[in-house]
């Protein structure tokens, strides 16, 4: 007699993490020229980030299936989920304020404060899923700080892709395409480290990595995340920058976004749990029930 394991987290959580992280990245990159160079905030990017974070919140509420219970998500400040709920709420508040506050005249002081607060909320929004994953003792693949760095780099990368698609090219006083290219390099580095360290840790984590690189999730991860989500955009960005071809950069940005969401789902799907008995007990009988 066996029983089927229930599905815990899947596409909905992957979409929520993607939208929340991308929204945070898009806001930071939209506000960066203002914060560093004192130039104007790219409001289209801010609106895009607001739209994405609202999708994230909508998915979370839909997952909960009961609107009246949602406020209870703010009850336990020690829970990363509560921190996430607070950060998402603050992010919506401050990014709305960023759009609403006049960008000239006497309100500029208030705007500066609001933007810094929104950046802080953005960073929390990007980081909290990785912290939450590190709480899951039974899933070795999610242990440590690897997921946090991976999600942080992925969020900034997909944020820059959103800003590019929102018309950031030519409107900013720094090269967004260079930022995206560096984002690809850093994201690729953390992805590589995540896979290598996962493959060298516990047997359970190695199984997770094997699923990703040559198992059930090969198509999703190697084709979707690595090839389509990293290799092709990287190539397109280099060619696009050399040949000054915005369409190539836009196509690359779209692929970055698709690869980003597939990466988040891969993290969920590859989460193999530590076996209840020792690793040596993993036999065909075991897998029938898990």
């Amino acid at each position: 007699m066996g029983h089927e394991s229930q599905t815990e987290w899947g596409w909905s959580i992957a979409i929520e993490i993607f939208c929340g992280g991308t929204a945070g990245g898009a806001y930071i990159l939209s506000a960066l020229p203002y914060l560093i160079f004192g130039s104007t905030i790219f409001l289209t990017g801010v609106v895009a980030s607001l739209f994405l974070v609202c999708i994230s919140v909508f998915v979370l509420i839909a997952e909960s299936t009961s609107l009246r219970r949602v406020p209870r998500a703010f009850s336990n400040i020690k829970s990363p989920l509560t921190v996430g709920a607070i950060s998402l709420s603050l992010f919506i508040l401050f990014s709305t304020a960023t759009v609403a506050i006049p960008h000239k005249g006497s309100a500029t002081g208030a705007l500066s404060i609001v933007v810094w607060l929104a950046v802080a909320a953005s960073l929390l929004t990007i980081i909290y899923p990785g912290i939450l994953m590190s709480f899951m003792k039974g899933i070795p693949l999610w242990g440590g700080s690897g997921p946090s760095f991976l999600l942080l780099s992925a969020a900034l990368l997909s944020g820059s892709a959103v800003v590019t698609l929102a018309g950031g090219m030519g409107r900013l006083n720094f090269s967004l395409s260079q930022v995206t290219l560096w984002g690809l390099v850093i994201y690729g580095f953390f992805l590589f480290i995540f896979i290598v360290t996962g493959g060298r840790s516990s047997k359970t984590a190695r199984i997770s990595v094997q699923w990703l690189i040559k198992g059930n999730l090969f198509l999703l991860f190697m084709i979707g995340v690595i090839a389509m989500g990293w290799v092709v955009p990287f190539t397109l960005y280099i060619v696009g920058m050399v040949s000054s071809s915005p369409p190539l950069l836009h196509i690359g940005s779209c692929l970055i976004l698709i690869g980003g969401i597939l990466m988040r789902y891969s993290l969920m799907a590859a989460a193999v749990r530590m076996p209840l008995l020792s690793d040596d007990s993993i036999t065909p009988t075991y897998w029938r029930y898990h």
Partner: protein, 218 residues
């Protein structure tokens, strides 16, 4: 104050699933929801094969990962050590299910009470809604009722969890871990009961007497 716990003798367990059925009958759990369940492991290769049955339930940990991640405080630890879920507070995020390293939590997939006409009214007063997370609570209603009647949980039928009563080979022992003279404390000491995955740092209240060599040696 008592701290309720359980010790399970894996050598005695014969994998009959009486505990699973008793729990389902007592707690009227939904389809696919098992507050206690037996995992069946084969170890070794032919001809040196052994079979181990591993009953799993909520470990009622002292360092509860599920409580740490629960954003609504639906999961909470009682003074007597039982980790309980307040169904009214659960927001169905399932973070506790992911956080539990022992796979002891289940999402209720359907109403626990059938709504077909003519079905007798159930004795539980709380209707469990789909999507809410459930798990073993050591049959705390039975414990509380037993204590109110002056019974001692761990020694008397009406104050024991249903799975403990149902086991035909007395593989499960329930009692007060804070009482060094209780049956459970004596068994843990004399038979060197161990914790499942002690390295998680969860400090469970459910102990196991392993078959063969100690888990610490594996």
């Amino acid at each position: 104050m008592p701290r309720w716990g359980m010790v399970i003798d894996l050598f005695r367990c014969i994998g009959c699933h009486a505990c699973t059925y008793a729990c389902k009958a007592e707690n009227k759990t939904g389809k696919g929801v098992f507050w206690t369940f037996l995992y069946d492991y084969e170890r070794g290769t032919y001809p040196n094969v052994t079979r181990t049955f591993l009953p799993i339930l909520c470990m009622h940990c002292e360092n509860t990962p599920c409580e740490q991640v629960c954003p609504s405080r639906a999961t909470h630890k009682q003074a007597d050590g039982i980790v309980a879920i307040d169904s009214d507070k659960c927001i169905r995020c399932k973070a506790c299910m992911v956080a539990c390293p022992y796979r002891a939590r289940f999402e209720n997939p359907e109403d626990a009470y059938p709504t077909t006409k003519g079905h007798p009214k159930q004795e539980h007063d709380t209707l469990r809604q789909p999507g809410l997370v459930e798990k073993c609570n050591f049959c705390k209603e039975r414990i509380e009722r037993g204590i109110a009647q002056g019974l001692t949980p761990g020694t008397e039928w009406d104050a024991n969890p249903a799975c403990v009563n149902a086991c035909p080979v007395n593989a499960r022992t329930f009692g007060d871990l804070n009482n060094p003279e209780s049956e459970i404390s004596r068994r843990i000491r004399s038979q060197r009961a161990e914790l499942l995955h002690e390295e998680f740092g969860t400090r469970p209240s459910v102990f196991y007497i392993p078959v063969g060599k100690s888990w610490r040696e594996e």
